[in-house]
Amino acid sequence: MRKCEVTGVKKLTLSATAKDRYTTYGLVVLIAVAVQLFVSYGNASNSFKGLLVPTCVYVLAALSLNLVVGVSGELSLGQAGFMCIGAYVGATFSVITAESIASDAVRFTIAILLGGIVAGVFGFLIGIPVLRLRGDYLAIVTLAFGEIIKSVCGNLYLSADKNGLFVALDVKAKSAHAFDAATKVDYVNGALGINGIPRTSNIRVNEWAFVICMAVILIAVIVMLNFIDSKQGRAVMAARDNRIAAEAMGVNVTRSKMTAFVMSAFFAGVAGVLYAHNYNVLDTSNFDYNQSILILVFVVLGGMTKMRSVMISTIILYVLPEALRGLNKWRMLIYAIVLIAMMLINNSVAIKKLVEKIQAKFAKGAENKEGGAA
């Protein structure tokens, strides 16, 4: 009985009640509308506009990782790998079809779906071995997968001539291949990556880019919240809180975890597609384990539970280093110190007690006025 109570309690704090859910949806819509109005009619600076799409990308990536880390309770250090797959698939598709598909909207939509689906398929394949492992071993295997993906993408060569596509993992093989020089086109070029991606999610090129990204985030949030509230979502959380108890209750833990993992990979892939289309160039240097860790930091500092707080922590933490640019060379040092300080303040027992004391004082004052509204 005790175990059931535990899961019950967690369920209440985690699974969103209807009101809670609509608050989150409302927040996304509110931010989208407010920011878009500011961009259209206000005096937004270049850097403000420039940061909108990348921030959305990281919000989506953090939300996707939250499914694994927050909801399933598994430590994954390979989220950048899924982003990398999505980015490469989406960008390659867009580069190849840049001329054959005239409509940006159609091409971009297909690219998003394709990138997400391929990343999801990889999520499934990687999930089979990964979800058998626990804790830090799971973490290192996801890290390993991320590095493998980065390494393979960074060595990928994809060209075409009139005789068809040519794929190689080695520049020597490409050099040895006899191309028809007149019709040869390079799509993916090893360390140089992909060049000349048609930019459909850049706010300087397409002024609706930000709204499109927010729409994708809204869809992701709806899908994720529905999943968390579904039977499978509850099963995943039950297993997170007590795997043995959940299994004893007849919950198919592996299947539910797999659903969460694949969904996470899918949305990370989508984030990758959005990312790739924001720039003219794509290479693997931005998808290393540092990137995975960065996304993990967003999720952990967002509290790993509520989607809103993950979104907000991502926005603040992504914008922070940019806002610190005035500090010049001290920028990254300050960022590191802020990061440590935030973790300590969030988690330290002594500081927690202090905060509670202060809160209690304030609460007393507030209670007198509002009559204890929570």
Partner: protein, 293 residues
Amino acid sequence: MSSFFSYLISGISLGSIYALIALGYTMVYGIAKMLNFAHGDVIMIGGYIAWLVFSSLGLPVWLAIICAVIVCVILGVVIEKIAYKPLRTATPLAVLITAIGVSYLLQNTALLTFGPASKTFTSVVPDSLGISIGGIDITGETIVTIVVTVLIMVGLTLFVNYTKSGKAMRAVSEDRGAAQLMGINVNRTISLTFAIGSALAAVAGILLCSTYPQIGPYTGAMPGIKAFTAAVFGGIGSIPGAMIGGIVLGIIENLSKAYISSQLSDAIVFAVLIVVLLVKPTGLLGKKINEKV
């Protein structure tokens, strides 16, 4: 055949460096149960101190080693006190993120102090130590690294198994709460673990920089990740496991460079790691964790 042995020897040489770093990782993980991602950067600091004393000021080698060890031990203990100790009851993830923050902090401090250009490190090992067996040259650095790694491994095993502090460490590792009830000072034991881990990092830093004679703010980052992989490979928390994991990883890396693909060697190393973990989910020598209901 001779080229195969040559690859093997160079693999062992590379692997012994990984092993030395992995010992520090595994030590801290085994007792404090945390992934100290800043370990690689403590190594870098150790390297810089040795560079400063030995290469830059021209003082004797033994002084450089002692200075590096002392600075790293102080650094390790201070980091533990300020950044990790307040998080003793927090989730492992919180500690992990803090460790990453510490890693950024150390890297950027080094960047601001010593500048971005990598410095030339003078090897602390005299050239005359190198030997040649059957036409294969083995450098002095390799020999010293292997000897030091083995000595440290044996020393650590004896320490953990037979001394009072070592026993306290094992007790803390098994069950922190119970250890405390038995009168073990958990905080002191964990501090001691960090002190030892950091001393190992200093030694690893000096040998790493002697073998590949450069030191920069990011020198520790990649070896740190590889050594972490090696520690998991051998079964994280196991001292002999770290040694074996490191050597095996080095050999795999060099053989795959030689015989499969020099471009994809990183991917191959990680693929082998995944396969090993699937067959033995707790690494080569890792302890099986019994789940308690």
